[in-house]
């Protein structure tokens, strides 16, 4: 990334587009302090990630739900166990975990799949499970890195709509994709990257985002 400066308001749905190697994943990794910028600063929820203590990194990561390009679903654990891990990490009440998993799977459109292993699911279903895990602890921010990268067009649209649904609940969604056709599905804002630089940034709709953020707070 080189000389970029932008901010995302709470409740916004931002699509970050660009070719492979444009810096989309790097942006996501900077957001969860998996990488540190060599210059400049990254601020998440008012905290400068350069200045936080190593112990606080885990707390920042809980604020940013992350959907990984390669899913990073633990293969020898069931879908339910994968989500339960995220809930345990987030300090969720253990007695309520089972109920929460059921609700999450219903929300992402794969109800009743909690006892299946990832290799028993289709690509789209795994992606949905990964999204369920990312939003398990109701993080204020969700970063989805190429969530439709390995999916067919119809499933990609379904995943996009799912992310929109999550955003409508007030979660700030940042989606990195190289699939420019998704821009037509009406995100709030599109930032286009090329070789680590921002080449275009469409206007956001602050009013709309504020409204969604209000819903989340309520």
């Amino acid at each position: 990334m080189d000389d970029i400066d932008f901010s995302v308001s709470p409740g916004e749905f931002v699509i970050i587009t660009g070719k492979s190697g444009a810096g989309k994943t790097t942006l996501g990794r900077l957001l969860i302090r998996d990488l540190l910028p060599t210059k400049g600063k990254v601020v998440v929820d008012g905290e400068d990630l350069n200045k936080i203590k190593p112990k606080s990194v885990s707390l920042i990561r809980r604020k940013v739900g992350f959907v990984f390009q390669d899913y990073k679903i633990i293969l020898d654990k069931t879908v339910g166990e994968n989500i339960a891990i995220a809930l345990e990490i987030g300090g969720y009440d253990k007695k309520k975990i089972t109920g929460k998993i059921t609700r999450l799977l219903e929300m992402v459109g794969i109800p009743g799949k909690e006892f299946l292993f990832p290799n028993q699911l289709s690509g789209g279903e795994i992606q949905r499970a990964a999204i369920a895990r990312a939003i398990a602890c109701d993080p204020p921010i969700l970063f989805a890195d190429e969530p439709t990268g390995n999916l067919d067009k119809d499933t990609s649209i379904e995943i996009f709509k799912l992310l929109q649904k999550i955003n409508e609940g007030g979660t700030t969604v940042i989606m990195a994709t190289h699939d420019v056709t998704l821009i037509g599905l009406n995100p709030d804002r599109n930032i286009h990257l090329e070789k680590g630089k921002i080449v275009s940034d469409t206007d956001g709709k602050p009013g709309k985002a504020e409204e969604k953020h209000k819903i989340k707070k309520e």
Binding site: S58, F66, K72, I74, A86, I89
Partner: protein, 301 residues
């Protein structure tokens, strides 16, 4: 706990070797604890016994004995002097050998041990070890003290036995300590390697957990739990083996040490040993997994 048990099921041979090495270490610890306790009891027994025993010739008179005892008690540094008759000597002997028919002579050609073949004696306890020389010279001059075939007066100085015994006990304790330290180091290294291998074998999963916001404690907890399970199992098996060894050696030890240590060893002693081994086993496994986890935390920063 579930993750720890799953980890154990996934690699049963690693788990087996960890439990085996802890069991072996704690078995040796258990045996040396029992040996140390026994040697301490034996030493205590010797220390509380009369310090000098002078065996008397047959045919001595009570006047001669009374005279020798009064000379002894009048000597500076002598606490008391007691006459032990042949009959009393037989009772002491019987008590010390228990019911062993071989030592009682009931199943040998030597004939039954009777009071006649045992000498009467005078047992002297000194309050000051520096009086040993004076006591010895009085006994040397006495006519009623028996003489060995080599022409020496038959006088026992158990103090020599005590110092010899102390020397041996200390040597055994020292060797035991060295062995225990060596086994403990091997044990810690083995568990550390096993846990480190497990951690590095799941580093992709651990990486994911970190990205999800897991703290180091959450990540290493299953591995520490797994190590504690090894410690618990190892301590239990180590105790079982040492208990079996003790039961197995009881028929051999009882007639030889019966007068000093009461056999069978009370179960409470064994329970205390189990408690000690459990604490030691848990500490061992905790230290080992802590080192393994510390390496992981250092590498994953």
């Amino acid at each position: 706990m579930n993750t720890a048990l799953k980890n154990i099921r996934r690699s049963p041979f690693q788990a087996l070797s960890a439990v085996f090495i802890i069991s072996l270490t704690l078995f040796v610890v258990g045996i040396f604890t029992l040996v140390t306790l026994a040697s301490h009891t034996i030493l205590l027994n010797f220390e509380t016994k009369p310090q000098i025993i002078a065996y008397l010739k047959d045919g001595h008179t009570t006047d001669q004995v009374a005279k020798l005892i009064s000379t002894m008690t009048a000597t500076k540094g002598v606490k008391n002097a007691v006459y032990v008759s042949k009959q009393e000597a037989l009772e002491i002997y019987k008590k010390s050998v228990g019911n062993d028919p071989v030592l009682l002579g009931t199943v040998t050609d030597w004939g039954i041990v009777t009071a006649d073949i045992l000498p009467a004696s005078i047992e002297i306890t000194a309050s000051d070890p520096s009086a040993f020389g004076t006591i010895a010279s009085i006994l040397e001059k006495s006519d009623i003290v028996s003489i060995t075939p080599q022409g020496k007066k038959e006088i026992d100085f158990p103090q020599d036995v005590i110092s010899e015994l102390t020397k041996w006990t200390n040597a055994i304790r020292g060797a035991g300590l060295v062995l225990i330290i060596a086994l403990t180091v091997v044990c810690i290294l083995t568990i550390m390697i096993i846990i480190s291998m497990k951690i590095s074998g799941r580093r992709v999963e651990i990486g994911t957990l970190k990205l999800l916001g897991a703290q180091n404690l959450y990540i290493i907890k299953p591995y520490i739990t797994e190590s504690l399970i090894y410690g618990l199992l190892g301590a239990f098996f180590g105790w079982i083996f040492s208990y079996i060894a003790l039961l197995y050696s009881t028929p051999f030890l009882a007639p030889r040490l019966g007068g000093v240590i009461s056999f069978p060893i009370p179960f409470l002693v064994n329970l205390l040993l189990l408690a000690g081994l459990l604490v030691f086993g848990l500490l061992l496994s905790l230290i080992s997994s802590f080192f393994a986890a510390a390496r992981f935390v250092k590498r994953s920063r």
